[in-house]
């Protein structure tokens, strides 16, 4: 049991971070406001989780402007993609182990 718990990524312990990663894996990129609408979270909440993922270098940020409005796009990095897949595998392994 302990071995598979070790594979869990600390960065994904929080549900919102896992959700952000799910959206970015399924899409080439996603912007801040659409992510906020989709996950139904507040500005501050989303920003802090994004910052955490950025610090892990799991996502990349591209800031541009549309007119005067900031338009920040997020995309998953190669490192983040690998970490996410590994985390999913760990979840699946845990299910398998519990079935034994």
């Amino acid at each position: 049991m302990k071995t598979s718990l070790d594979q869990f990524d600390k960065a994904f312990e929080n549900r919102i971070r896992l959700q952000i990663m799910s959206v970015l894996l399924a899409n080439e990129h996603y912007d801040f406001n659409s992510l906020k609408d989709l996950l139904n979270v507040t500005d501050g909440n989303l920003a802090s989780h994004i910052k955490a993922l950025e610090k892990e270098e799991y996502i990349t940020v591209n800031k541009t402007f549309i007119g005067k409005k900031p338009n920040t796009q997020y995309a998953v990095s190669e490192k983040g993609r690998k970490a996410f897949i590994k985390h999913l595998e760990a979840l699946e392994n845990l299910i398998k182990q519990q079935k034994l």
Partner: protein, 206 residues
């Protein structure tokens, strides 16, 4: 972590991946409505042509009277406008009912992937019309519409792809037999839309 929790976690990841990359509020009912508009329009078009010529057999014979063609194009344009408006309104309503924002990255991608073949097709049809090449108008409208559906299907229910394939096949058949263009047009825009819309409505929207 309990097994139940992991299952719900995996399920929520899957649903989020799908919801974030596919627009799932596309209204089936609007397909049915588009089909009905097309049938009504085709009936009016049939009346106009039939009253003028007494038959529908050979389309070349209408070319001597471009007024008939102007009327038919006007009807087709109205059908298109009504169908697009119904589709937008019903889909927005559907999204609101689900508490989703209808204007999101996926709906934008859906619209732009549809727009490229549709606008190309629209311009192509206008060119055919200006050059008085009326015989291929019905078939090109079916073909370009089919192409736009297959390209849009990446961003919504994959069933849309099959509707697109059927429209393309009908369009090609219509090009082979230009004299029965209206018939294929009625099957494609009328019947197929009604069948597709009904299936979608019961499969997803309820």
């Amino acid at each position: 972590m309990e097994e139940k929790d992991i299952h719900s976690e995996l399920a929520s990841i899957r649903s989020l991946m799908e919801r974030s990359s596919k627009f799932l509020s596309l209204s089936g009912l609007s397909g049915v409505m588009a089909g009905i508009y097309a049938l009504i329009g085709a009936f009016i078009g049939y009346k106009i042509v039939y009253e003028k010529y007494g038959s529908l057999v050979i389309s070349d014979s209408y070319t001597d009277n471009s007024l008939v063609y102007h009327q038919l194009i006007l009807i087709a344009g109205l059908i298109l406008l009504l169908s697009v408006v119904s589709c937008l309104l019903l889909s927005i309503w559907q999204a609101k009912k689900k508490g989703e924002n209808y204007w999101n990255p996926v709906s934008r991608r859906l619209i732009s992937s549809m727009a490229i073949p549709l606008i190309t097709g629209g311009l192509f049809i206008i060119i055919l019309f200006l050059r008085q090449e009326y015989a291929l108008i019905a078939s090109s409208s079916l073909i370009f519409y089919g192409l736009s559906l297959t390209s849009a299907s990446q961003y919504t229910f994959s069933d849309v792809k099959w509707l697109g394939f059927c429209q393309i096949i009908l369009g090609l058949l219509a090009a082979l037999t230009p004299a029965s263009g209206l018939l294929f047009w009625v099957i494609g825009f009328g019947l197929l839309h009604i069948i597709y819309g009904t299936v979608m409505h019961f499969k997803y929207n309820r």
